[in-house]
Symmetry: C2
Subunit: 361 residues, 2 copies
Amino acid sequence: MVARIYNFSPGPATLPYEVLEQSAKDMVNFQETGMGVIELSHRSKEFTAVTEQAERLLRELLEIPGNYKVLFLQGGASSQFYMIPMNFLGKGRKATYLNTGTWAKKAIKEATLFGKIDVAFSNEKENFNRVPSAGEYTVSNESEFLYFVSNNTIYGTQFHNLPKTEKMLFSDMSSDILSRRLDISRFGLIFAGAQKNLGPAGVTVVIIREDLLDRVPSDIPTMLSYKTHADKKSMFNTPPCFAIYIVGEVLKWLKNMGGIDAIARINDQKANLLYEAIDSGNYYRGHAEASSRSKMNVSFNLPSAELEQQFITEAAQKGMSGLKGHRSIGGCRASIYNAFPLEGVTKLVEFMHEFERENPA
Amino acid sequence: MVARIYNFSPGPATLPYEVLEQSAKDMVNFQETGMGVIELSHRSKEFTAVTEQAERLLRELLEIPGNYKVLFLQGGASSQFYMIPMNFLGKGRKATYLNTGTWAKKAIKEATLFGKIDVAFSNEKENFNRVPSAGEYTVSNESEFLYFVSNNTIYGTQFHNLPKTEKMLFSDMSSDILSRRLDISRFGLIFAGAQKNLGPAGVTVVIIREDLLDRVPSDIPTMLSYKTHADKKSMFNTPPCFAIYIVGEVLKWLKNMGGIDAIARINDQKANLLYEAIDSGNYYRGHAEASSRSKMNVSFNLPSAELEQQFITEAAQKGMSGLKGHRSIGGCRASIYNAFPLEGVTKLVEFMHEFERENPA
């Protein structure tokens, strides 16, 4: 049997091994029901308890205020790109978006189908190597909300402070939800595809301020209305049961780890180790400007594309996979979400030093 | 450890035990990669092979012609209710729908948001106890397609012959896909939520005639265009990886069972056993008219609601769960999809006779 490897993939990503082991048991016989977890009716008391527990743990860990609904939806974060404007914009209505990368850009494209979109910041020309600081953009008074991507998976940039505005915030937190403390009350809506920090691909968590549900138009398809899913507690139709179950298991694991503050400390530690290695000489170069560096995705280059390829290949031979950078910027990327173990980062850092010694530029 | 029970749930439903056992192994270490199947990048060669194999097996088992695309989408069958008219209707365009139950009715409701819907048949007043025969409805010349639900899960009715029309057929086959032979070439589009005959909740299979993709409007959200997913082989965004993987495993199992004709024979056998038990006296009454009886969902009543409740409770004590009928028609329902074993049906039939003897009306 091949030993477990260190999986630096950007998503679907590594999950806690305890969660995988538990799910393997539950797959054939869930809680002594004589049925596997994926065979349970979504309306059974057993599965209802699974969903309720996942929601309860998410509320507890993120300290979600009582006036927010938690939804488990399908379609990926990409479906939120159009659901948001379909639910909250419309003829003549406006929203402000910050263009900090591929996923922001895709969200802007979809939003433009439904309303007037004000792109208040974009640094595409610098290949999205940073996020804006507070003074760099203005949010017009007519905007319904300010939309931003809190962590840019591809470029390895992250907002370290929430954008300053009196408007409510809407945010794609697919790649950093639950990685640090968050003041939910500043938000109208937060969404996150699960496959990075929350669980497997196939479910998207939406946290939405309750009063916004009254603004949802009644003439959109039933399945595309946030109100439908909020009213039915994500059970209007058959939900993605297995993915919700795994999210619940990941949240249990996170609580056992000590919760958000504990994981945030470990995330700091992991990111610091990697950025120190990058900054220790001129061999490695980080893609992101230092002030915007992501603690989830560390994108970096080596002196040449050939060395990068060699680095990725040799790392894989040493049991570290998924280090190839996104095709849009090339280079290398280490994705170190909550479930990625510190030991894996230590091992990568050792390898980085070794590789530099053995392959001078 | 509780022995495996016979799970008559309508969906999510029972799956082949071999599939569950294999998935439990793959959950912690997929094909000796040192990663669990849900940790694999959707763009990795390993996961690409998983998706390709699932598609290849589906094509082989259903004999899908080369001019059809197979898509693995999210959002459940309920999302097809609006995606179909959003992609293929529009101002002034018309389609014909047959209203044979709850799911047809929901599809009609969503379609009405996008086009002119001609409901050519409805027997809601008879509580949907049968499907129409060929002469009972007409499909107008201006209709783009004829939409029908091939098997009505709640009422236990099924089309035993394809509707007669020169128009192309669109069909919701969520609850009977792969249960019998099918002439795909009659269809423009077929869709099926996986959680009955194909796998777990979380993925919907769409089979679509290639030339229809040219009719998809370009001004709809990217994620809602069939063309997007066809062009990107269901990898435009992160797909529901685990659900696709299980579909592939279920298809392998089905192929090993002997394929469609073999499973259709077993399905006939299972359904016949149950309907014979129902018809053997006046104690049990089938909901569906004999000519429309479903081979997937057998809905029936006992002499009283009290006896039905007692029947369901005692059956559960004997290891047969999920026999409660849908709340909209009450009574009992045995869902006996492909993966439901013949032995379970035999056991239920024995219990039906025993219960009748011990609890005279």
